[in-house]
């Protein structure tokens, strides 16, 4: 047996000695985890689409690697009052067909968002508050909102700007909320975007071709307003299985891959490739049913122990977050204490709950469960990094303090449906803050469930605290950043102080690249082709 294993290991090591290929001159090939569902940037609010289409289409504001809002097609913006914003647009920007970029294009683009047919997840959640848009002059735009919305500039990063001209808008274009704009002409639908004459943006790359299941090719736009990207041509290939994705990198088929499996990272590094990683904005957490009676519990005489803060604290103390990060996540994660990794906007930097199974057992006994109870832990098995394994490890640790845990793992589609129907007394899930600030997880995960107001939409544990709700409500109306941050920190503290939700860890996002390349890792997990650069002193790496 020993002999076999040594031979095997030796063979594996020799396989890693393949010389890594450097990117061909001017051409970059990227292996992505999944493929865009459409070439229409306004079709599907999905990071897979956004990250590839940002090469072609831009927005007024962009989020930098740490998700701070930065000027893109807007040079600056200001709040005139609580509900009115003025954006100064960049001059001298042209679309890929040569047309000039003006405020009219912005109005057209925002107008089209609610008019996209068959959208599985519309971007209109970021436009529905806009009550009016008008151009003061071709490069000054006024936006009015229903009620104060401090997040408007950040949300404007999701409006992909299309060319009103290329899309066939009429001369007179006036804004109306919820798809009631006038002068839109015949609005081209998503299928039309495979035609390069329609898929016209202002980005550094022009869409060349898109073959579903195989590849998407983009080429450099010569008259791009900003710094020219390093690559003449970029090919993006979807390779969804992790093994083949790594193999494609090692074999030199692609120059860069996103999210290599954690267990393969040592091997990729040994083979001379470069690993870059950064903390992501995504927290993995446990949510517990605090809504009276919960299903999937046993040994509790029909009571729901999770309504008792002591039990929730016991669960938190029973979990060895360090061990999960070390063993299951291979070190590519950070134990979490908050709903967003510090120092992002609205975090307080509080300490992680310690691992203390003895204290956890005491707390259980104090709460009246000296022998523990039985519980079912729900988890998706194809959504987060090693999700199923993490859930199994959590179950293992809970079993140690007497809470016998059954893991109920299902594919993401079934998991989310069941989760929303409150089928799990305790479940593991993740949250990535699209806006990059604390209001996002608070609104969705711990605000009192009120879907009509867009609050607590994913709060399937039904945690509820009035103090938190009012602090959050105030924050959402506060345009001043410093005050808002303070309110958000307080609101988060309310939920965490009574273990209303248990953060486990922040995922780390990893990219693997050929030695001649460089990429600034991003918290939003996006793989942006135009941001991949040739490393300084290329060639020395070999």
């Amino acid at each position: 047996m020993r002999k076999v294993s040594t031979a095997m290991a030796a063979a594996l090591v020799s396989a890693t000695m393949l010389t890594p290929a450097t990117a061909q001159d001017g051409e970059l090939t990227i292996g992505l985890k999944s493929e865009a569902t459409s070439m229409d940037p306004q079709f599907h609010n999905l990071s897979t689409n956004t990250q590839v289409l940002q090469n072609v289409f831009q927005a007024l504001v962009e989020q930098d690697a740490t998700q701070s809002p930065m000027p893109q097609l807007a040079e600056s913006w200001e709040a005139i009052d609580d509900t009115t914003w003025r954006f100064k647009l960049r001059e001298g920007v042209t679309f890929h067909d040569g047309g000039a970029f003006t405020a009219r294009d912005v109005i057209y683009s925002v107008c089209r968002i609610p008019m996209v047919e068959n959208s599985p997840s519309s971007f209109s959640i970021y436009t529905q508050q806009i009550s009016d848009m008008r151009a003061e002059d071709p490069h000054t735009l006024i936006i009015e909102t229903d009620g104060a919305n401090p997040l408007l500039p950040v949300e404007s990063a999701t409006w992909a700007i299309l060319s009103a001209e290329a899309m066939g808008a009429e001369e007179e274009l006036t804004y109306g909320p919820d798809g009631s704009c006038e002068g839109m002409g015949e609005v081209p639908q998503s299928g039309a975007f495979n035609d390069p004459a329609i898929a016209v943006g202002t980005g550094p790359y022009v869409l060349d071709s898109f073959t579903r299941g195989s590849e998407m090719v983009i080429t450099r736009y010569a008259d791009y307003w900003g710094d020219a990207p390093d690559w003449e041509r970029v090919v993006m290939r979807p390779i969804s299985s992790t093994g083949p994705r790594v193999a494609a990198l090692l074999a030199g088929d692609v120059d860069m891959i996103e999210q290599p499996p954690i267990q393969d990272i040592p091997r990729i590094e040994e083979a001379g490739f470069k690993i870059v990683d950064s903390q992501s904005n995504r927290v993995i957490y446990l949510a517990m049913d605090q809504d009276g009676e919960a299903p999937g519990l046993g040994g509790t005489d029909g009571k729901n122990p999770l309504t008792d803060a002591k039990v929730r604290q016991a669960i938190s103390l029973a979990i060895n977050r360090e061990a999960i990060v070390e063993r299951i996540m291979g070190g590519y994660a950070t134990p979490a204490a908050e709903l967003l990794p510090p120092p992002m906007f609205g975090t307080s930097g509080r300490a992680v709950d310690p691992y203390d199974p003895e204290r956890a057992k005491e707390l259980l006994a104090e709460a009246g469960y000296p022998d523990g109870f039985q519980i079912t832990l729900g988890t998706p098995n194809d959504r987060y990094v090693n999700d199923e394994q993490v859930a199994q490890a959590v179950a293992q640790m809970l079993a140690r303090i007497g809470i016998q845990t059954t893991v109920d793992a299902s594919t993401a589609s079934q998991f989310f449906s069941r989760r929303n129907k409150q089928e799990f007394p305790i479940y593991m899930a993740g949250w990535g803050a699209a806006s990059g600030e604390m209001s996002s997880p608070l609104k969705s995960l711990v605000a009192t469930h009120n879907p009509d107001a867009g609050l607590g939409v994913t709060n399937a544990g039904r945690y509820s605290n009035e103090e938190l709700d009012s602090l959050l409500g105030e924050a959402m109306k506060t345009i001043d950043d410093e005050k808002r941050s303070e309110l958000l920190q307080k609101a988060e503290g309310v939920a965490l102080d009574e273990w209303g939700i248990l953060p486990l860890h922040y995922e780390q996002t990893v990219w693997a690249l050929a030695p001649g390349l460089d990429y600034t890792p991003r918290v939003d997990q996006y793989t942006l082709a135009y941001a991949v650069t040739k490393a300084d002193g290329e060639g020395d790496a070999e």
Partner: protein, 325 residues
Amino acid sequence: MIVYLMRRIGQSLVAIMVMATLVFLGVYAIGNPVDVLINPEATQSEIAATIARLGLDKPLWQQFLIFVKSALQGDLGNSFVYGRPAVDIILERFPATMELALVALTLSVVIGVPLGVYAGLKPESIGGRSVMAGSILGFSLPNFWQGMLLILIFAVLLGWLPAGGRGETVQVLGMRVSFLTWDGLQHLLLPALNLALFKMSLVIRLARANTREVVTQDYVKFARAKGLSTRRVVLVHVLKNIMIPVVTILGLELGSMVAFAIVTETVFAWPGMGKLLIDSIKLLDRPLIVAYLMLTVLIIVTINLVVDVLYSFLDPRIRLSEVKG
């Protein structure tokens, strides 16, 4: 004959409809696709709007009637995920799967028949026995496990062939094929071999059994007695006789190849329709799942029918009858 054909077609249509209905209702019961598709930050009104956009707000029977009505006009609905006609999306992937299945089929014949004939001619020799033992191994190794081993050996350990993907393609008659480029051929080899191994074992057994039957026939003995070389006898007589059953069986197996491609495509990240099915099941993209099934069933039914008819022409002794005994 005509009556027989009409009945067969009628039966097949019923089968397709029953299958489509069951799957349509079944997928509805699993979960709500909107839970997966929509951005989690969406408000209730936005979720409701999306549900309405996808036509999921209507009662089930109404959704079903709409489906039936448009299906009768050849429209199987828009994919929830891609927002485009489900049939178009599947047809985009169809060539990749067909190419894989056909190459695998060819491989299994080209390698399987000679081995089988050899084993049939020399059943007691070491070679003949090894071929038979090998064929047992061939259909004992589960498809996915074989695929993993192929990747481990040829892609990871030896580094000779790529581990997955389709490689470079060229356009032929409006379809993208990979077997015409060197890069594409390299990508094609492992998955095709993976898909072929099981059928190859079948072909070996089929060819061996038929060879053994044929060599005992009088005309073969006669040919030998006439002094024809064994090689010639085998080539002409035996091959001619066994090709009919082999081709028939393979025709029928093409359908199951398309189905088994689901596994191969998953292991090798081959961008065919089988992989699309797995992805669609995960995303509860009902129109795509239903359309995939209807299309696959249609392919299988058509192949079966064509093979049956051809068979009756090739071998007049066989009469088409209602129930195959």
